[in-house]
């Protein structure tokens, strides 16, 4: 099928009858082709089966379709089988499917057609470059063409990138900020003078006698920074906050040395629930004296889950891997509290991260970034978190992984309206599996943020 276009003829979008399928980046091309073949009953072949990967339209006509492995694109011939499969492949398998617009005969080209085909070739080359270039380069180019502040797009912590708060592919965008969600962080309080939070309404309460909610330790500010820090920090640093649109509830349940007790934690949970918070983040824990878990915390968490409130808590940092793995700490070991373990930038287990050692309870449910996590520090009393005057810095711990999950839960809540148990299920169902680690250590895998497929705007090629 070919068509020659005269110079003065108005350009009309023409379709060849074939489809172009952009395969999801997270899967290998081979896996995606297997999916297409299974769903549609077709039999696509790989372009590598042709000498020098060069094939003709006759080759294409002779089969169901061909995979262009290097750019993750498949060209599929029109058939009833495939047409009936488009919605499944698109919705359930994240494939972008579009009708192929034009195809010209590649032999005996006249001058006009040759010019057009070269333009087509250049466009495909350009697309291939976009899809295969380094991620930061993609984003930099996108930011420039869209007139977006490059710092806002480019500069983000490894944790935000790994969890897809900043999507790794240009084909996706994350339009969610957690707006509408009330997120309580029960910790050592909050530095209300931190410039990155200037003007941000923060509801606060201290449950430590004779101690204001002002964070004089640093741990709480760091956790709040990760869960709900700004999209664009005032200071010239990378983005470190997940749910920048969420409403912050800072509950001080740990004293200025980072310690507290169960009663203070429960008082904080009670306050957060009464304030209408739907997500409670607790980067804290206590030793597990033996088998079992607290019936008090379990009853409380189960009741709150039924009322649409999700509690996430740190799995604990008592391990010294690979030699010693300690069980999940209290209260994260309660079945109705989501226990969060920690991984590093290379998806290795953090050596300190506790594991789910018991079959019936105390599981690690999910993991988040917990090594070299950059976030806000309190000023001026950085007793443990860093020297005075420094308002950002790195920290390690399942404490740092936990607010990643809390912030991402807020994004999912905005995206889906889910709460409580349903929100829990969404977080675990969408987590990125880490099959290199036992489920005991990582649960469902690395928490992942919701994202939306970007609508690509194809520009007509100027052929003349």
């Amino acid at each position: 099928m070919s068509k020659k276009i005269k110079k003065d003829e108005e350009v009309q979008v023409e379709y060849t009858g074939r489809y172009i399928v952009l395969l999801p980046e997270q899967n290998t091309s081979a896996n995606s082709v297997s999916t297409i073949n299974e769903v549609s009953g077709l039999n696509l072949i790989n372009s590598t089966e042709f000498e020098n990967e060069v094939f003709t339209s006759k080759d294409l006509d002779a089969c169901d379709g061909i995979l262009l492995d290097k750019i993750g694109v498949a060209i599929v011939n029109k058939s009833v089988k495939f047409t009936n499969s488009i919605s499944v492949l698109s919705d359930a398998h994240n494939m972008i499917i579009e009708p192929e617009r034009v195809v010209y005969a590649i032999n005996k080209l006249d001058e006009e057609t040759e010019s057009y085909v070269k333009g087509y070739r250049d466009a495909v080359n350009s697309l291939a470059n976009i899809l295969t270039e380094d991620q930061d380069a993609e984003l930099e180019e996108f930011a420039e063409t869209e007139g977006i502040d490059a710092n806002a797009v480019l500069g983000a912590t490894w944790g935000l990138k790994a969890t897809q708060v900043i999507p790794s592919s240009l084909l996706f965008t994350n339009p969610y900020s957690g707006v509408g969600s009330k997120v309580a962080i029960l910790d050592t309080g909050m530095d209300f003078a931190h410039p990155d939070f200037a003007g941000r309404p923060i509801t606060q309460r201290s449950f430590i006698p004779n101690s204001p909610t002002q964070d004089r330790f640093g741990h709480g500010t760091h956790c709040i920074g990760t869960a709900c820090g700004p999209k664009v920090p005032i200071s010239p640093v990378v983005r470190y906050g997940v749910a920048f649109g969420a409403q912050i509830f800072a509950g001080k349940v740990l004293n200025d040395a980072g310690g507290g007790n169960d009663g203070q934690i429960l008082a904080g949970i009670n306050w957060a629930f009464s304030q209408g918070c739907s997500i409670i983040s607790m980067s804290l824990g206590g030793a597990t004296a033996g088998p079992g878990f607290s019936q008090i915390f379990e009853a409380t968490a189960a009741n709150l889950l039924n009322h649409g409130v999700l509690i996430v808590a740190a799995a604990g940092n008592d391990s010294n891997r690979p030699g010693t793995i300690r069980p999940v700490s209290h209260p994260a070991n309660c079945p109705s509290i989501m226990a969060v373990g920690a991984v590093d930038q290379n998806m290795n287990m953090a050596n300190f991260s506790n594991g789910g050692l018991f079959a019936a309870y105390g599981a690690v449910d999910i993991v988040g970034p917990g090594v070299a996590v950059f976030s806000a520090l309190s000023t001026p009393h950085n007793i443990r978190m860093g020297p005075a005057g420094i308002i950002h810095g790195n920290a390690n711990g399942t404490s740092m992984a936990t607010p990643h999950v809390a912030g991402i839960a807020a994004l999912w809540q905005q995206a889906t309206g889910l709460r409580g148990r349903a929100l829990w299920n969404k977080l675990t169902a969408t987590a990125k599996p880490l099959p290199q680690h036992p489920r005991r250590d990582v649960g469902a895998g690395l928490v992942q943020a919701p994202k939306k497929r970007r609508i690509l705007q194809f520009q007509p090629i100027n052929r003349f």
Binding site: D187, L254, G259, N261, N270, S283, I296
Partner: protein
């Protein structure tokens, strides 16, 4: 010797248990109405009586937590 305890209560029995604790002159240190938990300061011996109250889910000693 008095210790610090947590008492989880069925929400529909919360007021009833609260009344019983006051009647038995058990020191209540915090009433967490929203989550139906009552914090008390009392002896280990008296917790047996609390556990026997209708609507009490559990009684546990408060522990320490930290970052």
């Amino acid at each position: 010797m008095n210790l610090q305890w947590m008492v989880a209560v069925r929400p529909d029995k919360y007021q009833e248990v609260l009344t019983s604790l006051k009647k038995d002159k058990i020191e209540i240190t915090n009433m967490l109405d929203s989550i139906s938990v009552i914090l008390v300061s009392t002896s280990h011996k008296k917790t047996e009586k609390i556990k026997a109250m209708d609507g009490v889910i559990g009684v546990e000693l408060q522990g320490d937590v930290s970052i």
